[in-house]
Structures are given as structure tokens and as C-alpha cells.
Subunit: 341 residues, 2 copies
């Protein structure tokens, strides 16, 4: 069967391929009469645009997929609310898929989604995701927009926060509160957010002449270790850190518990700052200093970018990228010795 391309449509209608493209993109430059001719033929020949499917498919699903690692993290539960607000507003359905931080699950979900269930996807990659072919393959068929945890390919909209600056800011805040040996806790060797936050951390350590040998990034996940055992081994001994930066929310409980078990006082013995959106930060003992991400706004922006693309397949998704800043909220867990916090 002959593949229906823009070129074929152009030949049949005796128009230029540029005119066909613009007509399909609903450009103002093209007359309504021409647009109708193009659309009618495209429909008749069942033309399916390659890299921007869904615009002409017979059964638009009016559904978008959201791939996230988990919902227990407040960032994702709040981001979902932002995504759904926009989706509902525009008459779209949202399907939520959990990868449980597994690359294999992520691959399986994306390949399943190509069978026409959705018009496009929003995704935050799993902590295991260190290659992107599966996302590129998906991106050739359907539009994808990244939020928070992005992949280097395919080229598309990336809705992120200022992770580098926040890594820097959290570290600088701990240094100013008196910390000399700071550890940044990671959960992945490949995640974009972790590498950005780590770079900001290392820059702050260098800028403030701390000893890089006592300020390191430690991965808490994998290699048969639990977060609890990793933290226990880090926080024992004389040369233990006096400052901790947790790059994800779910490390919080273990940090507090291990400090309690080892008899370490927060903030006197160890100061703690977490990247976290949990409402309970303010009622913890002590209340937790956080880098609060604009989760709702990031969800909204990601959904808006995708839906804009679904409305007009000719927009360049890369240009819809956005960086929405996070906020450092100082609370008791990083208070100095004489602070009244």
C-alpha cells in the first residue's frame, strides 16, 4: 500500500508541499477553500502525519497519558492536580501510569500506548532510565512533553524547575548556618534533576572553599542497601556530616528516624533541608526546611504545552519549554545554635 505523505497530497492537488503543510496546520495564510480540499483528500486517503499523529486520526482519543514514577511523593500528586485542571478545562481525559521507578515498566507502558489509546504523553522519567531510545521511538509517533525529570532526547518541551540554582541555594544556606561537612542524598545516577542539583551543590561547595572530600553526593538506592542502612552508616562516626540535603521527599522520614536512633539532634548536630512539597513539613519535629517546587504550576505548564501541540501539530514543542523557579522555605531543621527559629 502506498504511504500517504504530504508530497502525495501535494501532487494530487497540484499544490506545493508547503501549502499542504500550512493547510494541515490551519495557517491563516491559506484560504478556507484550499484548506477544505486538503483536509478532504487527507481524510479520504486516511493520511496519518508521522511525527504528529492524532491531528487527523479518525478516532481522536481526546486522552493524554501521564507517566510518573509514583504517587506517594507530594510533588507528583500535586503536579497531577495541575495537569488534570488543564485537561478537564480543555475536555481531555487523563490516564495515569505508574512506572514504579522501573525502566522496564516505562518501556512497556510507552509501547502499549502506541496502540492508539492516547493522543500524547506527559512524563517524568524513572530513576532507572539511563537510555532514551524507547522515548524517542514513542516521540516519532506521538508528542511527548517532559516535566521535572527530563530526558535528553527526543527534542521536545521540558517543564523544569531551577534545579541547579536550588542545589546551590540549599548548600549555601547550610554553609551559612555553619555546616562544614555536607552530604547530598541521591536516588539515581542518571536522573536529570539529581545531576542538576548535584552540580549546584558542588559549585556551592567550591565557591565557599569547603573540603570537597567531606562534601559528597551519596546514592541511597540500589546495590542491596536500604535508605535506612545507608543513612545509618553515613551518620555514624566522628567525621559524620553536619548538614544533609535530601533530593527527594521520601528520604525525610528515614533521615529523622536515623538521627533519633543515633541520638543526633536536628538542627544542633545535623541540619536538614529536603526537596519536598509535603504539607506536613511544617508540623514535623523539628519543622523541616524545604526547597518547595512549583508542582501544580509545572503540571499545568506541561499539560498546556502538550494540548497546544495537539491542537496544532506544527508548533515546535521545544519552544514551549519553561523553567519555573522553586522556593527555599527556611524552618527549624536548619536553625543556627542561637537562632530563635
Amino acid at each position: 500500500m502506498e504511504t500517504v505523505t504530504i508530497k502525495l497530497l501535494a501532487e494530487r492537488l497540484k499544490l506545493s508541499t508547503a501549502t499542504i503543510s500550512k493547510a494541515l496546520g490551519d495557517s491563516h495564510e491559506i484560504s478556507e477553500v484550499t484548506k477544505k480540499r486538503v483536509f478532504d483528500l487527507a481524510k479520504e486517503l486516511n493520511y496519518v502525519p508521522n511525527a504528529y499523529a492524532s491531528s487527523l486520526r479518525k478516532n481522536k482519543s481526546k486522552t493524554i497519558a501521564v507517566l510518573i514514577p509514583e504517587v506517594a511523593d507530594s510533588f507528583f500528586s500535586i503536579a497531577l492536580n495541575g495537569i488534570e485542571e488543564v485537561a478537564i478545562e480543555k475536555g481531555y481525559h487523563t490516564l495515569i501510569y505508574l512506572t514504579h521507578e522501573k525502566l522496564e515498566r516505562e518501556k512497556a507502558i510507552l509501547s502499549e500506548l502506541l496502540y492508539g489509546r492516547v493522543d500524547g504523553a506527559l512524563m517524568s522519567v524513572s530513576s532507572e532510565t539511563d537510555s532514551f531510545e524507547h522515548i524517542e521511538d514513542f516521540g516519532k509517533k506521538l508528542p511527548v512533553v517532559f516535566f521535572d525529570r527530563v530526558a535528553s532526547a527526543p527534542a521536545t518541551a521540558k517543564i523544569t524547575t531551577n534545579d541547579f540554582e536550588c542545589g546551590y541555594l540549599a548548600t549555601k544556606h547550610l554553609i551559612e548556618a555553619g555546616c562544614k561537612r555536607i552530604v547530598m542524598l541521591s536516588i539515581s545516577k542518571s536522573l536529570s534533576i539529581i545531576s542538576e542539583r548535584s552540580s549546584g551543590f558542588q559549585k556551592a561547595v567550591a565557591d565557599h572553599q569547603l573540603d570537597p572530600a567531606t562534601c559528597e553526593v551519596v546514592n541511597c538506592i540500589g546495590e542491596g542497601k536500604t535508605v535506612h542502612t545507608t543513612l545509618t552508616s553515613i551518620l555514624q562516626g566522628n567525621n559524620r556530616p553536619d548538614g544533609i540535603i535530601a533530593t527527594v521527599e521520601r528520604l525525610t522520614t528515614d533521615i529523622y528516624l536515623v538521627c533519633q536512633q543515633l541520638g543526633l539532634q536536628i538542627p544542633d548536630d545535623v541540619k536538614v533541608v529536603c526537596f519536598s512539597n509535603q504539607a506536613s513539613a511544617v508540623i514535623l519535629n523539628p519543622s523541616l526546611t524545604t526547597i518547595t517546587q512549583p508542582a501544580f504550576e509545572m503540571g499545568r505548564a506541561a499539560a498546556k504545552a502538550l494540548l497546544k501541540r495537539l491542537k496544532n501539530p506544527y508548533i515546535n514543542l521545544e519552544e514551549e519549554s519553561e523553567i519555573i523557579p522553586s522556593v527555599l522555605t527556611v524552618r527549624s531543621s536548619t536553625a543556627g545554635k542561637n537562632s530563635t527559629f
Copy 2:
């Protein structure tokens, strides 16, 4: 077009309707030869079983829907993990739909799902859901299993915890810790879980001869009030409660904050117990006494019941109902004055 029924299949094949039913249900009582005849004709005539679709549909979606009010509540995020564990094990996909506690959203999602996207649904109804026709209509076409927040109709499997006993237990615990004026905080007038927990509360109040006039169930949601303003008005004045039972997790932060703002000490002035699965209960200030629900197990049981039914459309889902008990975990927020907790 003639509706294809079991009766029609029976007539055409000159078999009894019971035999057709058993054959379709893959019963051991029926020979393979007969089963093949029945299946072939059913397929040829495009027979779609009424109340137990999916078994013979040409395109089994191998997908189940999960309708939940929100994911920010740890109960639901943990239950989802239980559901997905079973689903993945059995080769099923899970689609998560959030109702955001809105009856209208719940109706829209269920009606959309009837267009063949899924083979069945697991659901926990929204806090607004006070009528069940939309679920009954869905249940006539596809199997549905309730977990946690159940509806009185349709008759199907209900996976719940011992809400009545837990309402009783939480109240008795507060009474034994010295509380005389206990308030149970609700978020809905119609939810099954709230009415069970309330009944347990009222029974404990009566059994322990507390004054029912000072022990009431208060709805924190709706009528233009926020949880914060409702709590502030409850906790002010001389006759304020000395014990609070929160029926859902997300009330925790507001309870702690309002107490802090009014200068009330937990547990000395007010003791607090929450129905909650949040990991951070143990690191709150003070640590929080909880009724911990078997969220993961409830998710697993609900998914198992539904998948059992999808495998065999003739099982009686009602018989798959299960009550899995919760656990009271006592921590500092309910300690007596001289307690060493």
C-alpha cells in the same frame, strides 16, 4: 438487529441454556467439543454477555480502571501499589482516574469507561457520592469492585476494613487517656467509611457514659468553610474538645497548625488520633497516634477479586467481599499527663 442471548445460542445449538452458561464459564462439566461449538457460535454472532462483558469481547483490553478521589492521601497511594502488584502479576494494565471528590467527575469517568477502554473497575467513591445509579448502570455492563469507600449498590465485592470497630477503638483509647469531650472530624455526610466510624464513635461514647452533647461528629468540608476555619472555631472557647479523631489523613496538618496557633499543647490540652497511613506520623511533633489501614492488602484483595471475575464471569462477586482489620498505633499525641511516651 436480533439481540444475541444465551437463549438464542441454546436454540441454535439445541442445547440447554444451563449448558451454554457452563460452557461460556469454562466449566469442567462440559466437554471440550461442546465448549468449542458454543464459543464458535458465540464468536460468529458476536455475542456480548450482558452483566459480564469482556470475557468474549473480540478485543479484551486486559486493562482495569481504578477510580479514586485523590492520590495525595497515603491510603490511596499505597492501595494503588497493592492493586498494581496484582495487575502486573496477571498481565493487566491499570488506568488510574481521579474523581477529585466530585460526583460529576465520577459519573463522567464511569460513562466514558463503558466505551470499551477497560474490562472492569475498582473504585472508592467520592465524598460527594450520595446516589449510586451511575455505578449501578456501569455495573450492568462491566464488573466493579469497591474498596474502602463502598456504595450500597450494585451488589458486588466490597473490600473494607473494620471501620466501626476502629471508630470505637479510637474513641475508647481517648476516653482511657482521660478525654471527656471528643470530636470526630468528618469530610462527608454520605461516605460509608465515615458513617461506620461515626457509629463506632457514638457507641463508645454511650458505652462509657460520656455526655453525647459534648461528643459530636463535625463535618469539616463544604458550606463555604475551610478545614482551618472550622477547626479554629471548634477549638476556641472554654468548652473546647479535649480529644480529636480525624477520619481522614489530610486533616492532620490543619489540626496541628490550629492547635499551635491557639497555643494548645498536644497531647496535654488536646489529644489527637488520625486515620492515617502517612509514614511521617512517627516524626511529627508530637508523633501521631494513628489507626493504620491495611492499604496495600486492601488494594491487593480488590484487584484479586476483580481479576478472578474477569477470568470467570460466573463467579459471584459478592462472595469475594473481605474485611481486613486496621491497627491502632499509639504514639505521643494521645499520651496521658504522666505517660513516658
